[in-house]
C-alpha cells in the first residue's frame, strides 16, 4: 500500500464520511507522512467549520430592497389573479351567451319546421 493510494480517502476519513479498509488503515497507522496529511485535513476542515460562525454584514439597504421586491411580486401576483378571474368571467359569459343563442336558434328552427309541415298538410 502506498501513500497515493490512500490520499484521496483521507479527507473523508477526517469528516467521518469514509472508512479505510484494513490494509489502508494499517498503512496510515504506520506512515508518518499520511498521519501528517490527516492532521492537515483535520485543521483545514475545522477552520472551514469555524467560518460558519462568521457573518458578513451587507451594506445598508439590502433588507429594504428584499422586502420591496417581495411587495412588488405580491402585487403582481394579485393583479395577475384578478385578471385571470376576470378573464374566466368573460369566457364564461361568452360561453353562456353562445349556448343560449344556439338553443334559441334550434328552437326557432324547430318551430319554423312545424309551421311549414302544418301548412303543407
Amino acid at each position: 500500500m502506498r501513500c497515493d493510494q490512500v490520499a484521496r480517502q483521507l479527507p473523508g476519513v477526517v469528516d467521518g464520511t469514509a472508512e479505510l479498509d484494513d490494509g489502508a488503515r494499517r498503512h496510515v497507522e504506520s506512515c508518518l507522512r499520511c498521519q501528517a496529511e490527516v492532521v492537515r485535513y483535520r485543521k483545514l476542515l475545522r477552520a472551514l467549520r469555524m467560518l460558519r460562525t462568521e457573518v458578513l454584514e451587507p451594506s445598508p439597504g439590502l433588507l429594504g430592497e428584499i422586502l420591496a421586491g417581495l411587495s412588488e411580486a405580491g402585487e403582481r401576483h394579485m393583479l395577475r389573479s384578478a385578471l385571470t378571474g376576470r378573464r374566466v368571467a368573460y369566457v364564461g359569459g361568452l360561453a353562456v351567451a353562445t349556448a343560449a343563442g344556439a338553443a334559441g336558434a334550434i328552437a326557432l328552427a324547430t318551430l319554423s319546421r312545424r309551421h311549414r309541415v302544418g301548412l303543407a298538410s
Binding site: A36, L44, L48, G69
Partner: protein, 216 residues
C-alpha cells in the same frame, strides 16, 4: 506511536449546533407564513437575510451579485413556501435556494463577462507565509483560508462552501448546482486538495517536516 484515525474534531454540526436564528422561533413563523401571512414572511426575512447574504457572498465572491442572489432567493422562497414540507430546517431549505440562485448567477456572469477563472488555475502561495501551524494563530489561518477560498474557481468553491461550511449533503449540493452526485464529490475532493496545498505548501509544512524527522 501510531496515530489513531478518528473524526472527533470535525464531525458535521447538528442542527442545534449550527448558527443562525433559533429554529423554534423560525418554525412558528414558517407555519404562519405558509398560511399566507405576509408579515410573518417579512419577519423570516429580517431574521435570516444576513446569513443568506453571507452564503451568497461566499458563493459568488462580490457584493453586487450577492445582493441580487439574495433578493432572487427570497422571491423564490416566497413563491415556493407552500412546497416547503418542513422535513428540513427552514435555514437549510433557504441555503439550497440561495445556492441554486448563486449557481444561476455565476453561469449568467460567466456567459456575459467571460471572466470565470479556469478550473485548473494555480493557487500559488504568494504571501510568503508558509507555516500556519508554527504560528499557532488561528486568526491568521482563517484569514488565509478566506483568501484561499476566494481564489478557488467558483465551481469548486461552491461545493466546498456548501459541504464543509454549511453542511449540506452531497445529494442536496448536486441537485442545487445541477450536477451529478459523483461530480459533486469529485469537485469537493479537488477543492479540499487545493485548499490544503494553498494553506500547507510542500516544503514549508512544519507537520510534514516534523513527522518525517521523527521517522528518520
Amino acid at each position: 506511536m501510531p496515530t489513531r484515525l478518528v473524526s472527533e474534531d470535525v464531525t458535521p454540526a447538528t442542527p442545534a449546533e449550527s448558527e443562525g436564528p433559533p429554529t423554534d422561533a423560525l418554525g412558528a413563523l414558517v407555519t404562519q407564513a405558509r398560511t399566507g401571512d405576509r408579515a410573518a414572511f417579512d419577519e423570516l426575512v429580517r431574521r435570516t437575510y444576513v446569513d443568506s447574504y453571507t452564503l451568497a457572498f461566499r458563493l459568488v465572491g462580490n457584493e453586487e451579485d450577492a445582493r441580487d442572489v439574495v433578493q432572487e432567493a427570497y422571491l423564490r422562497a416566497f413563491r415556493g413556501l407552500k412546497h416547503f414540507r418542513g422535513d428540513a430546517q427552514f435555514s437549510t431549505w433557504l441555503y439550497r435556494i440561495t445556492a441554486n440562485c448563486a449557481s444561476t448567477q455565476l453561469t449568467r456572469r460567466a456567459r456575459h463577462r467571460h471572466e470565470e477563472l479556469p478550473e485548473e488555475a494555480p493557487l500559488a502561495d504568494r504571501s510568503g507565509r508558509g507555516d500556519p501551524e508554527g504560528s499557532a494563530d488561528i486568526g491568521e489561518l482563517r484569514d488565509r483560508l478566506r483568501v484561499a477560498l476566494a481564489e478557488l474557481p467558483p465551481r469548486l468553491r461552491a461545493v466546498v462552501v456548501l459541504r464543509d461550511i454549511y453542511d449540506l449533503s452531497h445529494d442536496a449540493i448536486a441537485t442545487e448546482l445541477g450536477i451529478s452526485e459523483s461530480a459533486a464529490k469529485v469537485r469537493l475532493h479537488r477543492a479540499r486538495r487545493k485548499l490544503r496545498e494553498r494553506l500547507y505548501p510542500p516544503g514549508t509544512d512544519g507537520t510534514q517536516r516534523g513527522a518525517e524527522a521523527r521517522a528518520v
